[in-house]
């Protein structure tokens, strides 16, 4: 099913909408956002420089640093009396990033999430359990309002107390799960511990996952525990842009459909800033075309992906962004090699004998970087000989070497040793500057 007619417009129609919105946006921001006006003036640009949709490439980028510099409310374009909601990012790498919404922004947000939820299989018949942490984080309320708009019955169970979560899931017959991929995995793990088989004892048939990258390897692992018929999709967004709602996968799992009438997406070369053609990998840059409280022009997401404009089998014509290859923020440079944690995940998952949890530790030994990967032994695959463990260690080591070209120390540990996560997983410890 397709939720909105905006998802099936022709390229000309989409671009016409985008151009009209962009023109208005640039005028409004030049007028009301001093930080933006200054950048325009410095570049010798006037708001009327936008004649065609390609002219967006003339406009300056916006960075996360600017949002921090304008903490908390200096970037808002409307007075506080028009603001009805405030959210903030966790701020693990500095001051939190604050975002705010008008009534219209919230409506647009719910509309965007509704489209992605429907693309991921949601209907009004679903009982949707939202296992995202409710609070300042945009994920939970974003999915909540979107699914409410679709008409699903919402169980706002949040995170924590996983056994209780499973009780709701089983007794209420939840059909749709909203969680991070790592929490979805954790829920399945706890289910097993208390004797619930997610395939038989739960009614889940849809997983709308987000807020951290879902690798294909992780999707395969999740299918193993939740069953092959569960439709597991991921959706994309970030608090700066709106929260979840920017893009999401449909049942064909061939990239995430972007809500283009609200978000104009480009992919750039992160070094030169130049826009890359369709199909080329680079940094995703997004313009929020019609947010009232906090529109952003050419926001540098630091996420790496590429775009495909071809029509999807689902009938949507909106551009698809490939599932992220990684976030530039997450990239590790180890002995001169660029390493994305997602590559390590892809290497580890699927190896027989270890569980789905892992931790990547990078340390300094003299002038050299040491990469250690901690994994847990799968108790069901235990054997009676040390040789088995040694072989397992070698298998992992060889696979990492093959994928990254790096030697890693592998530490196989007891089950349940590594930390578990209910929200975004933190699987990397970089101790080199500690």
């Amino acid at each position: 099913m397709i939720w909105a007619k905006e998802e099936t417009l022709s390229r000309e129609e989409i671009e016409a909408i985008q151009l009209e919105k962009l023109k208005k946006l640039v005028v409004r921001m030049y007028d009301k956002a001093p930080y933006f006006k200054k950048k325009m003036d410095d570049m010798g640009l006037k708001p009327d420089c936008i004649k065609t949709i390609k002219d967006i490439q003339k406009l300056p980028f916006t960075t996360k640093q600017e949002m921090r510099d304008n903490y908390p409310f200096n970037m808002l374009m409307v007075p506080m009396k028009d603001i009805v909601r405030i959210h903030a990012s966790s701020g693990t790498t500095g001051k939190p990033t604050v975002v705010a919404y008008t009534k219209n922004d919230l409506d647009m947000w719910a509309e965007c999430v509704a489209r992605l939820a429907v693309a991921g299989g949601a209907t009004k018949d679903d009982i949707a359990q939202i296992c995202f942490g409710y609070g300042m984080f945009t994920g939970a309320l974003g999915l909540h309002n979107g699914l409410e708009k679709v008409g699903a019955a919402i169980i706002p169970s949040s995170t924590g107390n996983t056994q209780k979560q499973l009780l709701y899931m089983k007794d209420f017959g939840s059909t749709l799960l909203v969680a991070t991929p790592s929490y979805a995995m954790r829920i399945a793990e706890v289910a097993k511990e208390i004797g619930i088989d997610p395939k038989k004892d739960l009614k889940l048939k849809i997983g709308l996952l987000g807020s951290e990258l879902l690798t294909e390897a992780m999707r395969t692992e999740l299918h193993k525990v939740y069953g092959e018929d569960m439709l597991i999709t991921q959706n994309y967004g970030m608090s700066e842009l709106i929260g979840p709602g920017v893009s999401g996968e449909c049942e064909y799992l061939c990239g995430m459909h972007v809500n283009e009438d609200h978000f104009l997406i480009e992919v750039i070369d992160p070094v030169t800033g130049e826009v890359l053609p369709e199909g080329e990998k680079g940094e995703v840059v997004i313009t929020c075309l019609d947010k009232e409280a906090l529109p952003l022009i050419r926001y540098r997401t630091r996420d790496i992906s590429r775009l495909f404009y071809g029509k999807c089998k689902c009938g949507r014509t909106t551009v698809r962004m490939e599932n992220l290859s990684g976030r530039t923020d997450d990239m590790l440079k180890i002995r001169g090699v660029n390493v994305f944690p997602s590559q390590i995940e892809e290497a580890l998952l699927g190896i027989e004998g270890i569980g789905p949890n892992y931790e990547i530790v990078v340390e300094k030994n003299g002038s050299s970087d040491v990469l250690t990967i901690r994994v847990e032994l799968d108790p069901e695959k235990m054997q009676d000989s040390v040789a088995f463990i040694a072989n397992l260690e070698k298998t992992i080591k060889d696979k990492i070497k093959f994928i990254l070209g790096l030697d890693a120390k592998i530490k196989i540990e007891n089950p349940n040793t590594l930390q578990r996560f209910e929200g975004k997983a933190k699987r990397v410890r970089d101790l080199r500057n500690a």
Binding site: D384, S385, I389, K411, I412, N416
Partner: protein, 140 residues
């Protein structure tokens, strides 16, 4: 004839072995025989215990990975040359030993033996030796 052997994964880390013995102490499980192999990073403890099922559940609840398998427990007279005879018979029968550990209690002795072909080994051994049953070995 086989008895149940419990194999437990142990990281080669300070305190890990005591964590294991602690689980047995806490849950009232008696270790009848134990063999602990060593390697740089990991070890596998092989044990004959008084209640294998209970032990395995207790271990799982305490974060240990373990597996239960069958092993031959062969009766030996506790005197010089007995084990040598047994191994010689196996050698002549073309059987290679994978690992072994022993158990003695007063005059009674047993060798716990894993070979690369237990079925064939069992037939060879049965000609001149007898095996402990599970019940017998738990009461040693």
């Amino acid at each position: 004839m086989f008895v149940k052997q419990l194999c437990v994964f142990i990281e080669n880390k300070h305190g890990k072995f005591q964590e294991l013995t602690n689980v047995f102490a806490e849950y009232g499980i008696n270790m009848i025989s134990l063999s602990l192999s060593d390697s740089t990073a990991y070890g596998v403890a092989r044990l004959i215990v008084s209640d294998t099922d209970k032990a395995q559940k207790a271990l799982a609840a305490n974060g240990f990975a373990s597996v239960v398998n069958d092993i031959m427990a062969i009766k030996l007279d506790n005197k010089l040359g007995e084990l040598n005879k047994l191994i010689k018979e196996l050698n002549e029968g073309g059987i290679d030993v994978q690992y072994a550990y022993s158990l003695t209690s007063g005059k009674e002795a047993a060798i716990l033996l894993k070979t690369l072909d237990d079925k064939k080994a069992e037939k060879i051994i049965a000609k001149n030796h007898s095996f402990y049953t599970e019940e017998e070995i738990y009461n040693l």
